[in-house]
Structure formats: structure tokens, C-alpha cells
Symmetry: C2
């Protein structure tokens, strides 16, 4: 009973840093846990309706004793074609991806897939609010990084440039997300500031 | 190798009529197939970015020979907490559920869950465009039915009223969605008319 990223939970794959497989163990909540708690809080406060999309699974075999007890006995993780989170806030469409890194000096662009970039570009073109949430685990700092800034680093990479975004640039071009007791990754505070 | 609703495909559960389990067999495309094809067309035309959410699966056991080949060996279908489709069109947040019925005279409200109604009410309150797509398979007619209309039938039901929406009312309060060659369920044509 092993999980793809070594975690003992029945959830993700996403949001984990695919650079560092060995874990610090028990560092507390993951970024995904914090964002889910934040979204639940936003929902309960009737502030925004933002959900994580289910992990896409290719279902191959299902054992079907009764309808209520159908058991998937063979399935595979599929790559997501979009970002992990989307929803609605103050009449605006919200769309983002969340990534945690244990790197101290940079955010590796390998964490993001080409088709996710395309999706994010479409969202921006159609008037959605789109961004990355990046956590530097070693500093316990979480940043709001606008999709528009990400695109320019991505294009640099395609042109043979760096395959990462330096931590210092994320501090500069991104916005530190405040930690709140209930909205533990209070990204709407940043959106309020820049869009409303 | 059976699937919960007797289909031989590695996809849904959703969108199927839970009233009629026996199928007409090979009636051609399901509503879900048609909507997915429509959304793909919208995406390719750069008209809208609307996706079906993955089927939520509770993953319990994963066999992990190599990361790239992780096999889910025990999983269960979970009930979705929201609707199946959402996205972005002309700067507006779009959210809908799609249901097909073989009934000739009514749409059973048992097709919709309480928490989906709550979700849809939130979406409307926060300025999203929210609706049902209902297909009457025997007539091969597909309707756009505004969430606001659905709520009043739902409230009637809660007050001890009918547990369904009569077909005639759906014709009256809903809008027949035109069939197009590529946009086979061209629901944006209805949205264009009523929101822009």
C-alpha cells in the first residue's frame, strides 16, 4: 500500500514538488491542505466558491457487486489538462495552480506543464484572474505569482533561457500571501488589492 | 468488468438517468459525449474555456511499482459536491449540470442532489451564469434550463409539492438548444441571447 509520492493519504499527487522525493516528514500541513481549508472557510463565509478539481483517474476495471458498492480495481493517474483550482469570486472567474518547493533559491519550471501554461494563457485572454500559489517550504513563505509574470519566464525557458524562476524574482514580482488563522492562505486578500 | 451503470466505457456515472437503468442500447452519442465535443470545439475556436470536472474517486490502495506506472487497485466513486461543468466565457463564470432522461412527460428532481442545488444557488448569488442542460432522449430535444427556474421547482418539492418538472414546463421556462454540426449542444448560443 504505497502512494506515488510516498504519502499515506488518499489524495493528491499534485502540488508536490517533483524534484525532491524524500520528505522532511511531518512538517505539518501541506500547501494543499492549507488551500483546501482556506477554500472551505471562504465557502462557509459565503465569500467565494472555489474548489479543487478531483484528481483525474483513468478508470479501467470496476467490480460491481451492487451499485452502491462499485469498487474500482484498476485505475491510473492521468495528467490534469488544466489547473487544479477554479471558481467564482466577486463575479470574476478565478483559476490557479498551487506548488510547493523545498528548493531554497529557485522555483523549477518543471513543476508546470506546457498544457497548463496554454490553459492559463487562455484564461487570462478571456478575462479570468489567473495565478500560481508558490510555497517555499524552507522559509514557510507562500506567494501569489501572477500568471502574466509566469508566462514571461516560460517564454524565456522556451528561448533557451533558465528553467526556473529565482526566489528573489518571486519575492519581487509576486506577493507574499498573509497567513490568517482560518484563511490560512488568504489569496483573496491579494486579489482584492489588485483587481477591485 | 462491469461499470456502475452498465456502460462499457471508462468514464462517467454522471449525467445518466438514475431512473432507468436498462438502456436503449446504441442510441448513438450520450449527452455527455455531445457536451464534451461541444466544449472541445469551443476551446479550439477560442470561444470559451469550459471543462468537465474529473469523476471524483476516493483512492484507497495504490500499487506502486514505479512512479510512472502507479496502479490504483482499490477506489470508490464519490458523490460530486458541485456540478460537473464549469469555466469561463466572455469574462463570465459559467457553471452547469447536464442530465439526460428517458422519461416522456417529466424530469425527475431525484436527478439533482441537495448539495448541488446549494452550490448552484451560491453561484447565482455571486454573479455566475448557472443552468441545467436537460435532454429528453425520446424526443431528442435538449434544453437550457436556468438555475433560477430550477430553484422554484426545488422549493415546491421541499414544501411537499411535485418531485419533478413537467416536460411542458421545461419547454415553457427553458430554451431549446440548437444542434450544430460541431457545437452539438450549442448552449453558448442561448447564453449570448440572454446575458449579452
Amino acid at each position: 500500500m504505497n502512494y506515488p509520492n510516498g504519502r499515506k493519504k488518499s489524495i493528491p499527487l499534485h502540488g508536490s514538488d517533483n524534484q525532491t522525493k524524500s520528505s522532511f516528514s511531518n512538517r505539518g500541513m501541506t500547501l494543499e491542505d492549507d488551500i483546501n481549508a482556506t477554500n472551505t472557510y471562504y465557502l462557509e463565509m459565503n465569500k467565494a466558491i472555489i474548489h479543487k478539481k478531483p484528481t483525474p483517474v483513468q478508470i479501467v476495471k470496476v467490480n460491481y457487486p451492487r451499485r452502491s458498492a462499485a469498487v474500482i480495481t484498476e485505475g491510473y493517474f492521468k495528467q490534469a489538462s488544466t489547473t487544479d483550482y477554479n471558481g467564482l469570486y466577486r463575479e470574476r472567474y478565478i483559476d490557479f495552480e498551487a506548488k510547493e518547493t523545498k528548493n531554497k533559491t529557485l522555483f523549477p519550471l518543471a513543476n508546470i506543464h506546457e498544457h497548463q501554461i496554454k490553459h492559463m494563457q487562455s484564461i487570462v485572454n478571456h478575462g479570468g484572474i489567473c495565478f500560481l500559489i508558490i510555497r517555499f517550504a524552507v522559509y514557510n513563505e507562500t506567494y501569489y505569482f501572477p500568471a502574466e509574470k509566469l508566462f514571461s519566464y516560460w517564454n524565456d525557458k522556451l528561448d533557451g533561457g533558465k528553467k526556473s524562476i529565482p526566489y528573489e524574482k518571486i519575492k519581487l514580482d509576486g506577493y507574499l500571501i498573509p497567513f490568517q488563522y482560518q484563511a490560512r492562505v488568504d489569496y483573496l486578500a491579494i486579489i482584492d488589492k489588485f483587481y477591485f
